[in-house]
């Protein structure tokens, strides 16, 4: 994986070594979380994905600070959920991982974000290459309205100028990966915005994974969907773990409980607790976490 160049990543992706999980669970909650992730992500791994580390992350919108020094470790090939009340900085944190945060005028971030040790914010890291390695799915399904279903999925490859790829092959692969192939294979030429909300969101997931990222960020991907479409997406997230490291921001605690291996709780721009999902919801270490997950506030 190379974040310093904008060259085409048309060939097969290079195998990335997953760093060995920390052997001893230390006293810090971070280490405990990583240990928990190693235990819970016992599913099959098809493509090894990188571990994402966030260290001392702080970010601002103009004068207002949204994230106040967060250290967080997202285990490889696992689903990590970030929960917390509105305005706690969880979406901002997510957008700092693929450097989408800086697209907002006046926004800036400090700290380190690394993928298997490779610094996303390093001087020689190219923002375009970073985003190619870290895909993103947004809250509202946002397929490109001028493009067909096929072109929407192929958009990432075309927009990044990737050549030497069999587009048809890659589009089918991505649509299969997003669990949408059977539903749209006979109407690939139709407009993407003609699909239902849930299908549109799976189209957006297909679009994101078609460029073969290593990490997939999801910013409340089901908040605009009905329960059945939500269920489909959640099943999909479980399957995607085999190939990607997944970080999902969600408002919905039940959703975190259903999909995530580990869950992080944020409050007012700070990380309160990050541990195995079951433990966070049943036996949290921090009182504020307990109050939040039991519905005392938020």
């Amino acid at each position: 994986m190379d974040l310093s160049s904008t060259e085409d990543r048309s060939g097969k992706r290079a195998a990335t070594q997953i760093p060995a999980a920390p052997a001893a669970a230390g006293s810090s909650p971070l280490a405990a979380a990583a240990g928990a992730a190693a235990r819970t992500s016992s599913h099959e791994v098809t493509t090894p994905a990188p571990q994402v580390n966030v260290e001392g992350l702080r970010s601002w919108y103009g004068e207002q600070q949204a994230v106040r020094g967060v250290d967080l470790r997202f285990a490889a090939n696992a689903v990590t959920a970030i929960i917390g009340p509105s305005g706690c900085g969880k979406s901002t944190l997510l957008r700092c991982i693929n450097r989408m945060h800086e697209e907002i005028p006046g926004a800036r971030a400090e700290g380190r974000v690394t993928l298997d040790g490779l610094d996303v914010y390093a001087k020689e890291s190219d923002v375009v290459a970073v985003r190619r390695a870290i895909g993103m799915v947004f809250q509202k399904p946002n397929p490109f309205p001028t493009m067909s279903i096929f072109d929407n999925v192929a958009a990432g490859l075309k927009l990044t100028g990737t050549r030497g790829v069999d587009l048809r092959d890659r589009v089918e692969q991505a649509l299969r990966g997003a669990g949408l192939w059977e539903e749209v294979k006979d109407r690939l030429g139709r407009q993407g915005i003609g699909l239902s909300g849930g299908q549109q969101q799976r189209l957006c997931i297909a679009r994101a994974i078609a460029v073969e990222p290593r990490v997939v960020l999801m910013d409340e991907p089901c908040s605009a969907l009905d329960p059945i479409a939500t269920l489909r997406i959640e099943e999909l997230i479980g399957e995607l773990r085999a190939n990607y490291t997944i970080v999902i921001v969600t408002h919905n605690m039940q959703q975190a409980a259903r999909v995530a291996d580990t869950t992080a709780f944020m409050l007012a721009g700070e990380l309160i607790e990050h541990t195995a999902t079951e433990q966070l919801f049943t036996n949290p270490a921090d009182e504020r976490t307990e109050q939040y997950v039991t519905g005392k506030f938020g």
Binding site: M100, V128, F138, L159, T160
Partner: protein, 285 residues
């Protein structure tokens, strides 16, 4: 508290009727000149129309056959097209800078302000500007100088309409493309511009329709000529100037030709606007 009732008082009903009447009357008054203009145009202009009216050049002779308006139609179309070719890339480029790259910088605010000022500049000022900078002492009148005057006139209109349309492109689409790892210029070229295209076309056509009817910018830049020409280096005829010159003549036949040319111009502009409407309708579906 009074008893619950779903009937209105007679007074309220009367006020409603009166207000409706007043608004209807205002609308009718506004329609009168509009209908009259169209009526006059058609009744006086249609008589001038004939096959030869559209296929022959003005002869320029005061006696005998005055000829048609072919050179004026060709000249207007040619000059307006050249003006469009000049104004659209610059205008859309400025709008793209303002919406996609400039952000809220002081420079883009200044640019936006000056574009607004330009929109309000009378068209004769653009004609004068070209006259002073390009015509006097620089080889005299020429079609391309007329086109530049028209382009200056179109520029703020194209810029403003393009900016509005580009701002309508949902930000989520830009973010989606950027998050895929697309460089910003590709996001603009492949996502933003195609999404905004129908609206851009509408804005350009409306600016074009406005430029086609302008007399002042051409009055002392392209002037008038009799012969049909596509040579932008020489004088070029145009419909507004043909009308302008013919109306001043004492001969009825020439005044008649002015009406015919006026009707032709209006029909051409109407068609352009109609196409603009269709283009914008396509964008909403």
């Amino acid at each position: 508290m009074s008893a619950l009732s779903f009937t209105t008082s007679p007074r309220r009903r009367r006020t409603d009727a009166v207000m409706r009447g007043v608004l209807l009357a205002a609308t009718l008054v506004a329609l009168v000149p509009l209908v009259l203009v169209i009526y006059m145009l058609i009744s006086k202009g249609i008589g001038a129309w004939s096959w030869s009216f559209f296929t022959t050049d003005p002869t320029g002779s005061f006696l005998g056959d005055p000829g048609g308006i072919k050179s004026a139609i060709v000249g207007t179309v040619a000059m307006v097209l050249l003006a469009t070719v000049i104004a659209v890339p610059v205008g859309v480029g400025v709008a793209l800078y303002l919406t996609e790259f400039g952000g809220g910088s002081w420079f883009s605010k200044a640019v936006r302000y000056f574009v607004d000022v330009l929109t309000g500049v009378p068209s004769i000022v653009f004609g004068l500007f070209i006259y002073i900078t390009l015509v006097i002492g620089h080889g005299g009148f020429a079609g391309w100088k007329g086109s530049i005057a028209l382009a200056l006139l179109m520029l703020p209109v194209v810029t403003r309409s393009a900016e509005v349309v580009l701002l309508l492109v949902p930000n989520g689409l830009r973010e989606a493309a950027l998050a895929l790892g697309a460089p910003r210029w590709r996001v603009v070229a492949r996502v933003v511009l195609p999404t905004a295209l129908p609206g851009l076309v509408t804005g350009v056509l409306l600016a074009l329709a406005r430029a086609a009817g302008e007399t002042a910018p051409l009055l002392f830049t392209a002037v008038a000529a009799n012969a049909t020409t596509l040579n932008f280096g020489g004088r070029m005829n145009s419909l507004p100037l043909q009308i302008f010159n013919d109306v001043q003549q004492a001969q009825d036949r020439l005044v008649q030709r002015a009406w015919g040319a006026a009707l032709t111009l209006v029909v051409m502009i109407l068609l352009t606007t109609l196409i603009a409407r269709l283009a914008s309708r396509r964008s909403t579906t």
